[in-house]
């Protein structure tokens, strides 16, 4: 029983770790703000669920498990809200959500326009 729980939590946590990594790579590699936001936020929620579920299995039924549940709930509430706020702020400032393929691969110096727009 103990071993099954260990293996299960190991699987959950490694997949969670993989999701975290995918989100990080997506946030670095994708071409513009909106796509990066998509990668980061989508994997953020999934990774949080998996990792915290994994830790909860290790914690057993204790106060720590309840705190972890609270952390998970708050992360699931605030994460998407923060993503919404960022996307909205970007949209308000007139950053174009359209991405025409040509900017892919030139992610480092492409849309300085967004920053120039601000000054």
């Amino acid at each position: 029983m103990e071993l099954t729980l260990d293996i299960l939590s190991f699987v959950l946590m490694t997949t969670g770790g993989a999701f975290v990594l995918i989100g990080g790579i997506g946030a670095l590699r994708l071409p513009n703000v909106y796509t990066r936001l998509h990668a980061a936020s989508l994997t953020d929620t999934m990774a949080s669920i998996l990792i915290i579920a994994g830790i909860m299995l290790q914690a057993g039924f204790s106060l720590a498990a309840i705190k972890l549940l609270a952390i998970l709930i708050f992360l699931l509430l605030t994460g998407p809200t923060a993503s919404y706020a960022i996307a909205n702020a970007a949209l308000l400032s007139g950053l174009d959500p359209q991405c025409d393929g040509s900017t892919v691969g030139a992610a480092d110096g492409d849309d300085e326009s967004g920053e120039e727009l601000r000054s």
Partner: protein, 328 residues
């Protein structure tokens, strides 16, 4: 071993962030990087076994610092003008200074050395005596509240003075109407944004509740008045962001905030004076009750409450002072 590697990685990121903060010309970006800097600091404090300090950095750095800096940026400029070249002399002197300091560190005890001089004097006594004299597990709270009560009283008065200073500097010569988070007849706060509004409204009570938990659980786990005051202030700032500053001021008017700032400091001093009246020294809690251990506990709870009230009131007053200032 593991923690050393974690620490090295996080500290390297910390240096990179610090360089980026100084190099960037967009002040808004600098503030965002500063919030990352604070997160890294908190993680480092946690790895270095300082849970209370990490909690303080978390409570202050994540919300309040960013909000106050953004409020100031909205009132000033968002871009730095390009600094003139020819700062090589400064850079040279600073590099020499850094090199000298690094050279000097080789005389310091290694990280985590149990024989280091810092660990030889009062610290073991604190760790040994706290359970006997106060009966509370968190030694940091015990030292903060009782052993070094004078020190903390001084810090509370510094926060108090800073708050009064900000109010003096910022409320002079203006009507109290417009600013970054100010009531605007066209739109109050983030009311148009349904998602933040719903989620935020849900979270405000939890943040305040968690702040109270940190306040009163400070004797048993990481926490205490400083952290709790900051967390509760963050909760109210969230409310002000969502509903507009006017609603927050309706809920907690300026007079109440000022009363909190003054009242907290007075509560702290009052506990000290009560000790004197009962025949002990200033800030000696043992005489408050017939049992000295219970007396110490009562004293610590009271002064922590005073600290929390003052910090919460000060941070909120500062926030409102920045928010109400009209941009010119």
């Amino acid at each position: 071993m593991i923690e050393v590697v974690f620490g090295v990685f996080l500290l390297t990121l910390l240096v990179i962030t610090a360089v980026a903060v100084v190099r960037t010309e967009n002040l808004f970006v600098a503030v965002m990087l500063m919030s990352i800097f604070s997160l890294l600091m908190a993680a480092n404090f946690f790895i270095l076994d300082a849970a209370d300090v990490a909690l303080t950095e978390a409570a202050i750095g994540a919300g309040i610092t960013t909000v106050i800096f953004l409020g100031a940026l909205a009132l000033t400029a968002q871009r730095e003008k390009r600094s003139p070249n020819g700062r090589f002399a400064t850079l040279g002197v600073i590099s020499v200074l850094a090199a000298l300091m690094i050279w000097a560190t080789f005389d310091k005890p290694r990280l985590g050395d149990p024989d280091a001089p810092v660990h030889q004097h009062v610290a073991p006594w604190y760790l040994e005596q706290t359970p006997e004299l106060m009966g509370i597990p968190n030694v940091v709270t015990a030292v903060l509240g009782s052993f070094r009560g004078y020190d903390t009283l001084g810090e509370v008065f510094v926060v108090f003075a800073a708050c009064i200073g900000v109010l003096f500097v910022l409320s002079a010569g203006q009507g109290l109407d417009r600013g970054l988070f100010a009531p605007d007849p066209e739109s109050e706060g983030l009311r148009h944004h349904l998602i933040p509004k719903v989620v935020g409204r849900l979270l405000v009570p939890f943040i305040v509740l968690f702040g109270l938990y940190v306040q009163f659980h400070g004797e048993y786990g990481p926490g205490g008045g400083f952290q709790a005051g900051a967390i509760i202030a963050t909760g109210v700032i969230l409310y002000a962001l969502l509903e507009g500053e006017a609603s927050a001021l309706n809920a907690l008017p300026r007079s109440v905030l000022l009363g909190m700032v003054v009242g907290g400091a007075l509560l702290y001093t009052g506990v000290g004076v009560a000790g004197m009246l009962l025949g002990g020294n200033f800030l000696d809690y043992s005489v408050l009750m017939s049992d000295p251990v219970i007396g110490q506990q009562v004293g610590i709870v009271l002064i922590e409450a005073g600290v929390g009230i003052t910090v919460c009131g000060s941070l909120l007053s500062i926030f409102h002072a920045f928010a109400a200032r009209e941009a010119r």
